[in-house]
Symmetry: C2
Subunit: 235 residues, 2 copies
Amino acid sequence: MTGMASSTPLSPTPRSTVKRGRQRAQTDRATLHGILDSCLICHLATVRDGVPIALPTGYGRDGDTLYLHGSTGAASLRDATGDIPISVTVTRVDGIVYARSSFHHSMNYASAVIIGAATPVTDPDTKLRALQVLTEHLAPGSWAATRPPTRKELAQTAVLALSLDEASVKLRSGPPGDDDDDIGVHGDWAGVLPLRQVWGTPEPCPLLPTDVPVPDRVAHRSPLVPRSRPVAHLY
Amino acid sequence: MTGMASSTPLSPTPRSTVKRGRQRAQTDRATLHGILDSCLICHLATVRDGVPIALPTGYGRDGDTLYLHGSTGAASLRDATGDIPISVTVTRVDGIVYARSSFHHSMNYASAVIIGAATPVTDPDTKLRALQVLTEHLAPGSWAATRPPTRKELAQTAVLALSLDEASVKLRSGPPGDDDDDIGVHGDWAGVLPLRQVWGTPEPCPLLPTDVPVPDRVAHRSPLVPRSRPVAHLY
């Protein structure tokens, strides 16, 4: 049941990228991007009153910058700013691994941890761009189709930027890793039960006139599927 | 886009339970249990080398005790023991809230944060019980259908217990909370696009004989749906 997975550290500096070999580094970064692009929320870990707390937070990715946002009143975002390092974790569960032993039961998943100092985004243009990125991650097409933020709303919204430089990725995929002695001897079955996230039927706002059609950007939203599968099975 | 939600603190002590009124406290606890029972993984937040880190971790609930487990080699579990408080967060995303403004875009979700000092489970009977709870949470029916842990496997597995006494719950459900001035004026649509987790087609282990049927516990596994819906829409 330990479900240990290989850890793929991503290059913390350009120098180490070169050392590790360009091809591998690119693959790792594509995997990191793929995980971030296939999930909806992250967990922002900060320390409050001496206690580490991870809170679900919206995010958006712009190249190798991750944007987080929330109310200016949110304590977690205040905790996250300054020179104190914080971390962001994004996790996607892809399936349950049924093994011949309880011990080798596991999950298939992809997870990324990004560590760094988060910077408040205050430049108006950058902040608007960040909010566009955040909105489009949450609801593709919504930025153009809805009212843009007012000056007051911008003031109420805190945006943080976190570089993806220092990140690590953990993956597990593939069938169970049973002990040889158990195969053909124990368990009524073994394999993987995949888990998928699917969109349901859109539920119009009760205040919307009944003749307003559901736009394609909602009705035919792309499924949340892994966009960048690992080449190898790591487990 | 701030997506703020109401926070429901759960009673940290029996005394405060009485103060807050029995009925409300029971409801809150049922909501907490419902969130825990409808998710698969938690994020365990610890501090390592001064950096708060949240790592995806398996869990299982036994009454008001949460069990976590992992390899005895996992640094996060070592970090989590002792008198240092840690926290565990469980989050379920239920849908995307499309509003008339980008600002009021949000998510429907349920999230629980549990804070406390995690205790290593070392008593053999309790540890076996905890592993049963953990296995059954991950894969219902697997404990009886597969080989139990060996003494060596038990020694390789670290189990932590965390009381659910100190916990808070955050929920958002229901339609968008648009500004009155935006309704009928902005946006091409407004409403909720639900997000559901569904099981895929079981993928038998390649080492399994082809005539082994998929057991009901896998083929007809219960869907991961909210087991305890909040009564009121909180947003």
